[in-house]
C-alpha cells in the first residue's frame, strides 16, 4: 500500500493525503453514488431552457435559422399578425413554420410559466402530455420542477459559497488574533445567533420585494456563523503545532505560515460541513417559499409546489411530487456529506496505514 501511494505521488496533482481521502470517499459506495446521481440531476436541470420550454430550440423558416431560446422574435417574422413575441403553440404559426421549414421543440414543450389552456380544469392529473399533471394555475408540474430544482440548488450553492467565505475569514481572524478580538467576536456571534431568523426574514421580506439576490443577502447575514466555530478552533489548535513553530523559527512570515500551514487544516474542517450547510440552505429557501415570503410570485420553486399541494388536497400529484423531489435532494446531500465527513476523518483515514 505504502509503495503504491508513493509511486502515485510522482504523477498525481493531489498530495498523498488527499489521494487517500479521495479513495476513501470513493470506497463509500452510498456517498459516491449519491454524488453521481446529484451530479446527473444538476447536469440535467442546469440547461433547463433546452429541456423544458415553450419555444423551439432552433427553427428554420424560409431558409434562415432562428434560435428562439436566446432571442425573442416578433410574430411578424413568421408572417403572423402581431408585433409581439411569437407564441409558438399558436396553430397558425406552427402551420406557417412547418410549410416553410422545420422546428425542434424541447422534450418538454412547457416553460415554467406557460399555461396549458387545453386542460378541462386546473389542477389536473398526470396525462401523457403533462407527465406529473398540471398545477392550480394551469402550469406543467414537470417544467416547474426542473426550474425549481435548479433555482433551489443554485441558490444553496451560492449561499454556501459566500457563507463559507465569510465564515472561514471570520473564524481565521478570531483564531489567529485571539485575545480580545476573539472574545468580542464570540460574544457578538452569540447575540447575533440568538436572533429569531425566520421572524426577521418575514419582517424584512415584507419591507423589500424579495428577489433571488435579496433573499441571498438576507440569509447570508445569518448563515455565515456555522463555520466560524470549527475554523476558529482549527486556527487556535494549529498555532501550536510543531511544524508551525518550526516555520516560525525559520523566520517564515506570519502571513505565509497562515496560508501554507494553518489554512489547509481549516479548509478540511470546513469542507466536512459544506454538504450540511448546503442542505440547510435548501431547506430555508423551501420553507420561505412555502410560507410565501420567498421568491417572487410565479417563480418556480419547490416550496411553492409544496404550498400548492397543501392548498389542493384533492390533487395529490402536487404534494407527492414536491415531497419526493425534496426528500431525494436532501437525502443525496446528506449521504454525500456523510461520505465526505468519513473520508476526511483523520482517525479513519490513517487506520489502514498503521
Amino acid at each position: 500500500m505504502r509503495n503504491e501511494s508513493g509511486a502515485a505521488t510522482k504523477t498525481s496533482f493531489f498530495s498523498p493525503l488527499m489521494q487517500r481521502r479521495l479513495a476513501s470517499f470513493r470506497a463509500n459506495r452510498r456517498g459516491w453514488w449519491s454524488l453521481c446521481l446529484f451530479g446527473l440531476l444538476l447536469a440535467l436541470t442546469l440547461p433547463a431552457e433546452f429541456i423544458a420550454n415553450d419555444k423551439p430550440i432552433v427553427l428554420s423558416y424560409k431558409g434562415q435559422l432562428y434560435f428562439p431560446v436566446f432571442t425573442a422574435y416578433p410574430e411578424t417574422t413568421f408572417d403572423g399578425d402581431f408585433e409581439t413575441e411569437t407564441m409558438y403553440d399558436d396553430p397558425y404559426i406552427i402551420k406557417n413554420i412547418q410549410e416553410h421549414g422545420w422546428m425542434v421543440m424541447p422534450p418538454i414543450p412547457y416553460h415554467y410559466d406557460s399555461i396549458n389552456f387545453d386542460i378541462p380544469r386546473a389542477p389536473s392529473p398526470p396525462t401523457s402530455n403533462n407527465l406529473l399533471g398540471v398545477d392550480d394555475q394551469g402550469r406543467d408540474v414537470v417544467a416547474r420542477l426542473i426550474y425549481g430544482f435548479r433555482i433551489s440548488v443554485l441558490f444553496a450553492l451560492t449561499l454556501t459559497f459566500f457563507a463559507s467565505l465569510i465564515g472561514i475569514m471570520a473564524g481565521a481572524i478570531q483564531g489567529y488574533f485571539g485575545g480580545w478580538t476573539d472574545l468580542l467576536f464570540q460574544r457578538f456571534i452569540e447575540i447575533w445567533s440568538g436572533l429569531p431568523i425566520l421572524y426577521l426574514l418575514i419582517i424584512l421580506s415584507s419591507i423589500v420585494k424579495p428577489t433571488f439576490w435579496w433573499l441571498l443577502g438576507l440569509l447570508l447575514l445569518f448563515s455565515w456563523m456555522d463555520l466560524v466555530g470549527v475554523v476558529r478552533a482549527e486556527f487556535l489548535r494549529a498555532r501550536n503545532f510543531d511544524y508551525v513553530r518550526a516555520a516560525r523559527a525559520l523566520g517564515v512570515p506570519e502571513f505565509t505560515i497562515l496560508f501554507r500551514h494553518v489554512m489547509p487544516n481549516a479548509f478540511v474542517a470546513a469542507l466536512t460541513f459544506l454538504p450540511f450547510i448546503l442542505n440547510g440552505a435548501v431547506t430555508t429557501l423551501t420553507s420561505l417559499d412555502f410560507l410565501g415570503f420567498g421568491l417572487p410570485m410565479g417563480d418556480p420553486s419547490l416550496g411553492e409546489l409544496l404550498a400548492q399541494g397543501k392548498n389542493n388536497p384533492t390533487a395529490p400529484w402536487l404534494g407527492i411530487t414536491g415531497f419526493v423531489i425534496l426528500a431525494v435532494l436532501l437525502s443525496l446531500l446528506i449521504f454525500i456529506g456523510e461520505a465526505v465527513r468519513d473520508a476526511l476523518d483523520p482517525r479513519k483515514t490513517f487506520q489502514e496505514f498503521r
Binding site: R2, S5, G6, T9, K10, S15, P16, L17, F241, D242, Y243, R245, A246, A247, R248, A249, L250, G251, V252, P253, E254, R260, H261, P264, E352, F353
Partner: protein
C-alpha cells in the same frame, strides 16, 4: 512445569497480508521475571495482548500457536473463562498511567473494584486490603487518602496505583507493558525496583515488556529479544549480555551512545548568552486579569554558549528546559536578557528578528508532528531557503536541498515523498536538514532522540556530532537522557524547577556530581 508457555505463536491482522508475530515461543516459570525486549513495531505488545486474549476477534487471526497457562489452553478460550483469569490470575500494567485510571473514580474505589469483581475477599475485608496494597506499592501516604482522585496524583504515583490494582488478587503472573516509558528516568528506576521487589516478596511471575535493554539488565532473570515479529534470541540475562549470539542482540547491546564530543578551541567566541532569563506563566488571575501568582517555568537562568560548542540542558519533565529553549529562540515570551553575538535580542520585534531566525534553529522532540503532512520533503527542507535566499531559483534550491539530504544520510530520490512515508529516524533527519540548510550558528535540539528507538538514537547522535564538526554550529541539547548527553555535549547544566542547580564541563559533572539530584539522574541513566 512452566507457569506460562507460549508455543509457536503467530498472529495476523486481517487488514494485512504479513503476520506481525511469527512463530514465537517462550515460557515463564513460577516466580520468574522474563523481559521481552524489542524496538517499536517488533510485535512485543501484541504478543502480550494475545496472552490476555485482548485482541478483538474480528481484527486478528492466529495462523498457528498455543498459549498454555498453568497447563490450560488460553487460545480460543471463552470470554467467561478469560474474564476469570484477567485481573485475578493474570494482572496487567499498561504504559500510560495517565489514561489507565478512570479520572472520575477515587483510587480507593478503583482498587476495591478489582477485588470486588472477582470476589476473592469478603466485602468487610476490602478496605483493609486496599490499604495493605497501597502500602505494598509504596504509597503509605495514601492509606488515609483513599478518596483522592487520579488527577491529584503524580505520574509515578498513578503507575503505583495501577500496579496495586494489578496485584490486588495475588495473581500468578504480572504482565507489565512498558511500565516506565511514560515516566521520568529517576521514577522509571523506582518503578522497576518496585516490580522487582513485588516479584520477590509475593512470588509473582513477571513478563516485563520494554524497548530498553539496559533497564532489564539488573532485574530480569531471563530475556527474550524480538525483532520484526520474530523472537531472535532468548536466554539467561547474564549470558545474553556477555555472549549475545544473534547479530541483532549484539547490535542492541552496542546501541549505547558512545564516544565524546570533539574539543572546541578554548578561544572560541561566545555566541549566545542569557542573563537572568525568566518565563513566568500567570497561575491565578484577579477579577481584572492581573496575575496574582505565577508558575515559574524558567526562573532566572544565566547561561552562555561558545561557537561550535554543545551545551547539554538536563532535567526531568516539567523542569522548564523546553520552555527555556523556546524562549531562547524567541518563540516564547520571556523577561531578562538574551544576547546573540553580544547583541541584545530579547526586546526585538518579531519582524526585526527575521534575519536572526536564520542563525538560531530549532529541532523538535516529536518527528511525527514537526513536519507538515501536506508538504513533500523538498518543500519542507526548502522552506527556510525560500525565506532567506529568495535569490535562488527553484532548480538551485532543489540542488541545495538534495545535497543537504545527502549530508544527513537521506537520498535525493526522497525529495518528492511525503512525511508519512518515512520512519521516525528518517523524519528526525529531515527535521535536522531543515534546520541546518539555512546555515545557522546555533541549533536548539529539544529531546531529538527521545522519541526514537535506541539504535536510531545512536545514529542521530553520531550524525549530530559529525555535522557539528563540519559546520561549527553550536548546540543547545535539551535532554533527560544523560547517556546521550555524555556522548554529545561539552558542557552540562542541570535544571530543576526552572533553576540551574549545577553546571560545568561534562567530564567534571559525570565524575564528581555535587547535587543529589544530579547523582540520581546519573544513577538512573547508567543503571549500574
Amino acid at each position: 512445569m512452566a507457569l506460562l508457555e507460549v508455543k509457536d505463536l503467530s498472529l495476523q491482522f486481517s487488514s494485512r497480508t504479513e503476520p506481525v508475530v511469527q512463530h514465537v515461543s517462550f515460557s515463564i516459570n513460577k516466580g520468574e521475571m522474563l523481559a521481552l525486549v524489542g524496538e517499536s513495531g517488533s510485535g512485543k505488545s501484541i504478543t502480550a495482548l494475545s496472552i490476555m486474549q485482548l485482541h478483538p476477534p474480528q481484527t486478528v487471526s492466529y495462523p498457528s500457536g498455543s498459549i498454555l497457562f498453568n497447563g490450560e489452553e488460553l487460545m480460543g478460550a471463552g470470554d467467561a473463562y478469560m474474564q476469570m483469569l484477567r485481573g485475578r490470575r493474570i494482572g496487567m500494567v499498561f504504559q500510560e498511567p495517565m489514561t489507565a485510571l478512570n479520572p472520575l473514580h477515587t483510587i480507593g474505589r478503583q482498587i476495591a473494584e478489582v477485588i470486588r469483581q472477582h470476589r476473592t475477599r469478603p466485602e468487610k475485608e476490602i478496605p483493609a486490603r486496599v490499604k495493605e496494597l497501597l502500602e505494598m506499592v509504596g504509597l503509605e501516604d495514601f492509606k488515609d487518602r483513599l478518596h483522592a482522585f487520579p488527577h491529584q496524583l503524580s505520574g509515578g504515583e498513578r503507575q503505583r496505583v495501577v500496579i496495586a490494582m494489578a496485584i490486588a488478587n495475588n495473581p500468578d503472573l504480572l504482565i507489565a507493558d512498558e511500565p516506565t516509558t511514560a515516566l521520568d528516568v529517576t521514577l522509571a528506576t523506582q518503578i522497576i525496583a518496585l516490580i522487582k521487589d513485588l516479584q520477590k516478596r509475593l512470588g509473582i511471575a513477571v513478563l516485563l515488556i520494554t524497548h530498553d535493554l539496559n533497564l532489564v539488565k539488573r532485574v530480569a532473570e531471563r530475556v527474550a529479544i524480538m525483532q520484526q515479529g520474530q523472537l531472535v534470541e532468548q536466554g539467561k540475562t547474564a549470558e545474553v549480555f556477555s555472549h549475545p549470539k544473534h547479530s541483532y542482540t549484539q547490535h542492541l547491546i552496542a546501541s549505547v551512545p558512545q564516544g565524546k564530543p570533539r574539543p572546541v578551541p578554548a578561544d572560541s567566541e561566545i555566541i549566545l548568552a542569557t542573563e537572568n532569563l525568566r518565563v513566568w506563566f500567570p497561575a491565578r488571575k484577579s477579577f481584572f486579569g492581573k496575575a496574582l501568582s505565577y508558575k515559574k517555568a524558567v526562573d532566572g537562568v544565566s547561561l552562555h554558549l561558545k561557537r561550535g560548542q554543545a551545551l547539554g540542558l538536563v532535567g526531568e519533565s516539567g523542569s522548564g528546559k523546553t520552555t527555556f529553549g523556546l524562549a531562547l529562540a524567541r518563540l516564547q515570551a520571556s523577561e531578562g536578557g538574551i544576547f546573540f553575538e553580544g547583541e541584545e535580542i530579547s526586546s526585538k520585534k518579531q519582524t526585526d528578528l527575521r534575519p536572526l531566525r536564520q542563525r538560531i534553529q530549532f529541532v523538535f522532540q516529536d518527528p511525527f508532528s514537526s513536519l507538515n503532512p501536506r508538504m513533500n520533503i523538498e518543500d519542507i527542507v526548502g522552506e527556510g531557503l525560500r525565506v532567506h535566499r529568495p535569490d535562488l531559483s527553484r532548480a538551485q534550491r532543489r540542488r541545495k536541498v538534495a545535497s543537504m539530504l545527502a549530508e544527513v544520510g537521506l537520498e535525493e530520490a526522497m525529495l518528492e515523498r511525503y512525511p508519512h512515508e518515512f520512519s521516525g529516524g528518517q523524519r528526525q533527519r529531515i527535521a535536522i536538514a531543515r534546520a541546518l540548510i539555512v546555515k545557522p550558528d546555533l541549533i536548539v535540539l529539544d529531546e531529538p532522540t527521545s522519541a526514537l528507538d535506541v539504535s536510531l538514537q545512536v545514529q542521530i547522535v553520531e550524525l549530530l556530532r559529525t555535522l557539528q564538526t563540519k559546520h561549527h554550529v553550536a548546540y543547545l541539547f535539551i535532554s533527560h537522557d544523560l547517556r546521550v548527553v555524555r556522548a554529545l555535549c561539552h558542557r552540562i547544566a542541570v535544571i530543576r524547577e526552572g533553576r540551574v542547580i549545577e553546571r560545568g564541563p561534562a567530564e567534571e559533572i559525570f565524575e564528581h556530581p555535587r547535587q543529589d539530584y544530579t547523582k540520581a539522574l546519573i544513577a538512573a541513566a547508567f543503571a549500574v
